[in-house]
């Protein structure tokens, strides 16, 4: 190697560069260094995730109440779980939650995929319309809940007004009617989160190579066949991922529904998370609500795992 000016510069740069980590942590193995780096994260994870989880499981077997710090904590065995699983009301909240999750997912998948297919056609102004469609998901759920109460107002709300253009229905009480209230929250959630599904589907659509469609053209495939054999299989992993995220979010839906209906009328829209909050922080039945939280956690975790396995199978 000749002694060129470039080599001189490289030497200077090398001198200014920090010593390799292995040299600085002399005597430590790579594995030990890796542990040093990840240990703060692990400690944090243990402190704010794992410990509270274990503590919650413990509390679920006690009669603990957070508003009575001086009261001795009694072990009550499985009493909280027995009460929960034997309560008609709890099954009602879980049913309301399942109704909400299933319908929002179904509608959002259909509309989200439909919108993504439309936007993917790259028409003039597609960028502008994409931005417009995305606006609802950028809002705070609490704010959305509040302003939809105005839109749903039977006498002055625009929702009732528009429906009355198609017939003389009179004031339509979306929030106060037992039959309509569950749909009122489904409509709002669909309005707010369909753009999210659309966005992920759009990412999936944009990742499909054009040559697949060209090959299909050569094979004289029609539009439906192209959709069924190329578009859908390619978009499905993205769609399933979006459904996973939204499903988990909707299972623990709280703020938007509280602002919109407060869980009413009666308990018609009292989702599991709303009841959990009421039991934990209004009634202060900490042990009982911990048991409920554990049941919900196991349900979401279990369903989530099954779903992820299905997702992986689809990807393969």
């Amino acid at each position: 190697m000749t002694d060129s000016p470039i080599n001189g510069v490289a030497e200077q740069v090398a001198r200014g560069t920090p010593q390799p980590l292995a040299t600085r942590f002399r005597g430590l193995s790579d594995r030990a260094i890796a542990w040093i780096f990840i240990s703060p994260t692990i400690v944090l994870l243990l402190a704010i995730n794992i410990f509270p989880l274990i503590w919650t499981v413990y509390l679920s077997f006690t009669n603990y109440r957070a508003n009575r710090p001086g009261r001795p904590i009694e072990w009550v065995g499985t009493r909280n779980y027995e009460r929960l699983l034997g309560s008609e009301d709890i099954w009602g909240y879980l049913q309301a939650t399942a109704h909400f999750v299933c319908w929002t997912m179904a509608l959002q998948v259909l509309l989200g995929l439909g919108l993504a297919l439309l936007i993917n056609r790259n028409f003039k102004g597609a960028g502008f319309w994409t931005t417009v469609i995305l606006i609802p998901m950028m809002l705070s759920p609490a704010v959305v809940g509040v302003f939809w109460t105005y839109l749903y107002q039977p006498q002055t709300g625009i929702f009732s007004y528009i429906l009355n253009l198609f017939g003389d229905f009179g004031p339509i009480d979306m929030i106060g009617s037992v039959g309509l209230a569950p749909w009122s929250i489904i409509i709002v959630d669909t309005w707010m989160w369909t753009p999210y599904i659309m966005l992920l589907c759009l990412a999936g659509l944009r990742s499909i190579p054009e040559y697949l469609y060209e090959a299909a053209e050569i094979d004289r495939a029609n539009a439906l066949q192209k959709f069924w054999h190329i578009t859908l299989p390619r978009v499905l992993p993205f769609l399933m991922l979006a459904v996973l995220f939204r499903g988990i979010e909707n299972f623990k839906m709280f703020d938007m529904v509280v602002e919109l209906t407060s869980g009413g009328p009666g308990s018609t829209t009292e989702l599991a998370s709303i009841n959990l909050k009421r039991e934990a922080f209004e009634s202060w039945r900490t042990g009982y609500s911990s048991a409920f939280a554990v049941i919900l956690f196991v349900t979401v975790f279990g369903l989530g795992n099954i779903y992820v396995k299905a997702l992986n199978r689809v990807k393969q």
Partner: protein
């Protein structure tokens, strides 16, 4: 540059307004160690208290800071504060139902010794308010608060509509009596039905705005105003916590059914989750002929530009089998976690003075002091003063047990399920309520 400054100022104001669920007001500009914080709900009487407290600052040199939280978050916010041993509030005007828990769990300072030392006598306050706002165990001479704001559920009505000759004659033709403020719930329903859907001044109006709120305590306060008139009792007077045959008595079932009929026949469309503010909005906007609400709002209504003056009249909660009203109002307590308990006690001492209590009433606060209420001219001091006195003579309150919040949640659910969601029967709702309350008392070791 000016535009930028204006934008920044607007943004700051907007941020303050949107995040400002809590109102913080400070009177005086004295050093922080001579400052105490008073916590209460954000409503009309709180503004009157800010005005009144300026005299305290002038007299003692102790600056006052106020934390006012909207009613919808009031219980959540301050019960959490108490349960966590927070030092935010030196003085708290807490709901009457909190007294059991706050005394039992040591959130409030017991005031007996202080009252004795300062010569403050509970005999100087209306007995019903002392019982409801100050004592725990109930009726025992153990005081945890000074009665601060007397209140009860009352009614307002559109006096100008009631006076319309065509409506008078139409009502008389139908019911054989004058269209007048109702004295019983049956009359109230007749009047409400009469107004429901009627055109007045070119606008469709409705019968009555009642409490139907699900989230906090709204529908319970509304329903109990009917139940009490039907003679509802929470428990066997001879055997505490024995609720069967009392909570679900035939009269209680009838009262609950009646409240539901009023909800169904005579409220504006979409009236399924309404409490104080929603009722005020409905009334002030000319939607309803009658409205139930707390007396605390009546001074503001009497002065309201749209519906105040001669347009509005007041009446006490109608009777049915007996005459009774739902209790509102609060006592003022010293928070035991405060570092400034001595300054807070000075405020209580000052607030208990008869001349301060008179000014409190004149500013729009409801004094419980006999120097105010016992004045022969009291009934003439405001258009609703006589009704207030009448209401306070027959008030009943919800459970004041340490497990109050749990008991309240259960009742909110059961009565909302029945009245608004039309689920089951009144008998089933009250039977289930007893089951819920029994579990609560069992867990609390009371049963």
């Amino acid at each position: 540059m000016r535009t930028w400054k204006a934008c920044l100022a607007a943004a700051a104001l907007t941020a303050a307004a949107t995040t400002g669920a809590t109102t913080v007001i400070t009177t005086g500009a004295l050093a922080q160690d001579k400052e105490i914080t008073l916590c209460w709900a954000a409503w009309d009487p709180a503004n009157a208290l800010v005005e009144l407290s300026k005299d305290f600052t002038a007299e003692t040199g102790i600056s006052m800071k106020f934390e006012f939280v909207p009613w919808t978050n009031f219980a959540d916010r301050f019960l959490n504060e108490l349960n966590s041993g927070g030092k935010l509030c030196d003085l708290l005007i807490g709901d009457s139902q909190w007294i059991g828990g706050s005394a039992t769990y040591g959130h409030y300072v017991k005031l007996n010794e202080f009252f004795d030392k300062e010569g403050i006598s509970m005999d100087d306050f209306l007995p019903a308010t002392v019982y409801a706002y100050s004592t725990w165990p109930k009726g025992a001479p153990e005081y945890w608060a000074l009665p601060a704001m007397g209140d009860a559920l009352g009614w307002v009505y559109r006096k100008d509509w009631f006076a319309k000759p065509e409506l008078q004659s139409a009502f008389k033709a139908k019911h054989g009596r004058d269209l007048a403020p109702p004295k019983t719930w049956t009359e109230l329903k007749e009047v409400a039905e009469f107004f429901q859907g009627r055109e007045i001044d070119g606008k469709t109006v409705y019968g009555a705005a009642i409490f139907t709120e699900r989230g906090s305590e709204g529908i319970t306060m509304g329903v109990t105003s009917a139940l009490y008139s039907w003679g509802f009792q929470y428990q066997n007077p001879e055997k505490p916590y024995d609720m069967k045959g009392f909570v679900n008595s035939a009269d209680a079932v009838e009262g609950l059914e009646f409240y539901k009929t009023i909800y169904e026949c005579c409220t504006p469309p979409g009236y399924s989750d309404s409490y104080m503010v929603a009722n005020l909005d409905a009334y002030k906007s000319g939607q309803v002929a009658m409205m139930m609400n707390w007396f605390a709002f009546f001074p503001g209504l009497a002065k309201d530009e749209a519906v105040g003056g001669d347009k509005t009249g007041f009446f006490v909660n109608p009777g049915q089998k007996i005459e009774a009203s739902t209790l509102g109002g609060q006592g003022i307590s010293v928070v035991s976690y405060s570092d400034k308990k001595d300054l807070a006690l000075q405020y209580i001492k000052w607030f208990a003075k008869p001349d301060v209590q008179k000014k409190w009433w004149s500013l729009g606060g409801y004094s419980c002091h006999t120097a105010v209420l016992g004045d022969p001219d009291f009934a003439k001091t405001a258009p609703f003063a006589a009704d207030f006195l009448k209401a306070m003579s027959g008030v009943q309150d919800f459970w004041q047990e340490p497990t109050y919040a749990e008991l309240m949640q259960a009742m909110q659910k059961r009565v909302h399920d029945y009245v608004v969601a039309d689920k089951g029967t009144a008998q089933e709702a009250l039977d289930k309520l007893i089951e819920d309350w029994t579990v609560t008392f069992e867990d609390d070791g009371k049963l």
